[in-house]
Structures are given as C-alpha cells and as structure tokens.
C-alpha cells in the first residue's frame, strides 16, 4: 500500500486517528441520548440519524486506528475498553445536551469544523484517510446544512428561542478554540502531508459561522478564553459519565455479542 511509504511516527498517527474517531464517537453517543426525548418526532428521528452517521464514521476512524496501532485492537475494543484518560475527543463534544437549543448550537459549531476538516483530509497523503474523509464529508455537509438551518430558525425565531440560542452560544463558545490549536501530533501530521494544520481551518470556519450567526441574529461572543485538554486526554467530569453509560455492557459482560 502506498501509505507504507509515508514517513510518519506510528504512535502519532494512532493519536491523530483516535482524535477523529473519539470526536465522532462521543458526539454520536451524546446525540443518541435524545432518542425518544426530542421535542417533536421529526427531530427525534433526525437526531438519531445524525448520531448513526457519526457512529458509522467512528467505526471507520477507530478501525483504522486499531490497524495502525497493530496491537490487535479493533474499533469496538477502542470504543468500549479504554478509560477516560485515553480518549482524545475535544471537550466541545462531551458538553451535556442541555435543551434542544444547546444541543443544536454544539452540533452546528462542530459540523462547521468537521466539514472544513474533512474537506482538507480528502487531500491527505494517506489514501486510507483520504477515502474515509471523502465518505464522511458528504454526511457532514448534510449535517451542517441541517444545523445551520435550525440555528437560523431558532435564533431568528421567537423572543424565547432567540434568548435561549444566544445563551447556548455564550455558554459553549469557550470550548471551540481547542479545535484550532496545533500540538506535536498535528505538526507531525502536517509534515507528513496527512492532515492540515488545525489553525489553518479557522478562517473558513469563521466564515461559515459568522454568516449563519448573522442570519440567525445571534452575536458571536467576544471572549477569547479557551478551555482545552481533551485532545491530550484531560477531560471534564462529563466524559466519565458518558463512558459509564456507553461502556457498561462490555465492562460487565466482556465480549458480549448479540
């Protein structure tokens, strides 16, 4: 395979792939918590379908991560048998669901990043990564279209919906910055032509987000404070609760299948 010719540290590549897969896994799990609880049936179905797309993408990313790692761990083993400190998702995706507006705001900010990131990854020097990205970017485009549409409808909606959307945006804003900060892993990926510099995605993300927020009559917060740590395994307390729920079955009944 051509990728064998790419000079990149295996551990760094594994790290990068778990960041991609853990983002979609944790957000997918979070969104799936709405199943049966959404405000209307159509939204319930839409949220469950979005979660399904994200979990499907997780199987591709973590499947490849396990392959790269070469220790016999598959996607399931990585999802269900790692503890919180081994997870590499950004803090944004582990934020609690809150109300429908908070869930949507989180989704929109993530979708905008996800789409820009996946688009860049379709040009990855590693063909395995490029093909996963080419598959996932179509789904991300659809998610972005849906979340943009709803952010606009609720932001530019009633007084109550506007107030809640603005509050949701103010609350979650400080969790976004982490996505654009490069570390050694990112630099190794850039050098090998595998992934873009996270900081380079900011301009396009800003363009998408500011356009939608303007349409939604919402104001982007001006605070520059950034919560970070998720991408290197330092998480908020919320991740432990997510894992307790998500991993219970495989922890209590190792190897269970149906």
């Amino acid at each position: 395979m051509a990728s064998a010719g790419i000079a990149v540290d295996r551990a760094a590549l594994f790290e990068f792939l778990t960041r991609m897969g853990d983002n979609t896994l944790i957000l997918g799990h979070r969104v799936s918590e709405w199943c049966g609880h959404a405000p209307v049936l159509e939204e319930d179905i839409a949220l469950a379908n979005t979660a399904l797309d994200l979990i499907g993408q997780t199987q591709l990313w973590l499947g490849l991560a396990g392959e790269v790692e070469g220790k016999g761990r598959n996607a399931d083993a990585l999802a269900f048998l790692r503890d919180a400190a081994a997870f590499r998702n950004c803090l944004l995706v582990e934020r609690p669901n809150g109300d429908f507006g908070q869930t949507l705001t989180r989704q929109f900010l993530f979708d905008a990043w996800h789409h820009v990131m996946l688009t860049a990854l379709t040009r990855s020097a590693d063909p395995r990564i490029a093909e996963i990205a080419a598959k996932a970017v179509k789904e991300a485009a659809y998610h972005l279209e849906r979340s943009s549409d709803l952010v606009i409808r609720l932001g530019d909606g009633t007084d109550e919906s506007h107030k809640r959307m603005q509050r949701a945006l103010d609350d979650i804003w400080s969790y976004v910055g982490e996505l654009f900060i490069a570390d050694d892993t990112d630099r190794a990926m850039v050098e090998a032509g595998i992934a873009p510099d996270p900081a380079s995605l900011r301009l396009e993300w800003d363009a998408i987000v500011s356009e939608v927020l303007r349409e939604a009559t919402l104001k982007a917060p001006t605070s520059a404070y950034v919560h970070k740590g998720g991408r290197r395994g330092v998480h908020t307390e919320h991740l432990g609760y997510i894992l307790a729920d998500m991993q219970f079955l495989q922890r209590a009944y190792p190897g269970a299948t149906w």
């Binding site: 159509e42 179905i45 797309d53 994200l54 499907g56 598959k135 789904e139 279209e145 943009s148």
Partner: protein, 174 residues
C-alpha cells in the same frame, strides 16, 4: 466438485439483481448501485460492496443476504470486501430503480442537489429557500414541502404534498 464449472460473472450479477435491499425491498442491491465488483479468485467469489451511509445499520444484513443468496445458488466460497472509494452516490442508482421507488411511494433522488457545505451555496439556499423541487410520488404535483431533513432511514427525508396532502419519503441525493 473440483471439475465443476464456475458460474459466469454475468450470471452472478443477474442473481444479485434479485437480492432485495433489506430496508427498501422494492430495490435490489444492484438497483441501489452498492455492488461495485464481482470477480472470481480461483474458486472464491469476491463481491465488493460499498456502504450507502457510514452508519447504515443494514450493511451487516446486506452482506449476510449476499452470502446466503450465493450459497443457495451453489457458490460455496464467497468473500465480501468493503470498498469506500469512490464513495457511494445516488447517481449510481439505476433508472429502473428510480422508477421502482416512485411506484413504491418514495420520491427518487433529484440529481445534483447534494449538500456540499460550501458557505456561498449555503447562503444562497438560505436566502432563497430551497430550490429543490421534489415531485409527489403519488399525484405528481410539484407543490410539496420538506417536513424534515431525515426520514425513516438515514437515506431519506420527510416530505408532504400540498396538493394531495399525503406525506411521503424522499430518497435524498448524496
């Protein structure tokens, strides 16, 4: 057995064209365009399948159905391979498949209307509303509206006809 002739590739395609999609049984797997390649490797039949959506829960069942069908046709050794690239698109759905969908009550995909996430396209859509016209599969009216971007499965959206007032599924373009 060692001397038995293997079925031709054309014959295998013909068999696969009779395996229904588990979620939309009116379509065959070949109509859907997800069977990408069929080839013999010695006496093993290798069937290459591409997923529709990454998380489509029918993927496992589809593989099982293919294997079962081919085993029933006398092919003892079957290997299924997954191919991600190029990613599946509704453009690959056969004309016959589109007609079957419409007759079944699902509006077939309108080509070239997939979301592309580009902000300029997004702005245009937001400013003028969706320019996508999905005809009602029951009465043919173009007076329809989107109820939700997702429907009963990941590949569909929910619509409503404003002429005959029936709700219907739209097989969205991707």
């Amino acid at each position: 057995m060692a001397t038995a002739t293997l079925p031709s590739i054309d014959e295998v395609w013909h068999w696969l064209a009779q395996v229904p999609d588990p979620e939309i049984p009116v379509l065959s797997l070949v109509d859907l365009g997800i069977v990408r390649e069929v080839a013999w490797e010695d006496d093993t039949l290798v069937v290459t399948v591409t997923p529709t959506y990454s998380g489509c829960p029918a993927t496992g069942i589809i593989n099982l159905d293919i294997e079962r069908e081919l085993n029933a046709r006398g092919v003892a050794r079957v290997r299924l391979e997954r191919r991600l690239s190029p990613p599946w698109t509704t453009d690959w759905m056969s004309a016959e498949g589109r007609e079957k969908l419409r007759a079944y009550g699902i509006a077939p995909p309108v080509d070239d209307t997939a979301a592309d996430g580009r902000s300029r396209a997004l702005a245009r859509r937001l400013a003028s509303g969706s320019n996508l016209t999905v005809a009602c599969p029951r009465c043919g009216s173009a007076q329809t509206e989107k109820v939700s971007q997702f429907g009963s499965t990941a590949c569909k959206a929910s619509y409503r006809c404003l002429s005959c007032l029936e709700p219907f599924d739209y097989f969205k373009c991707i």
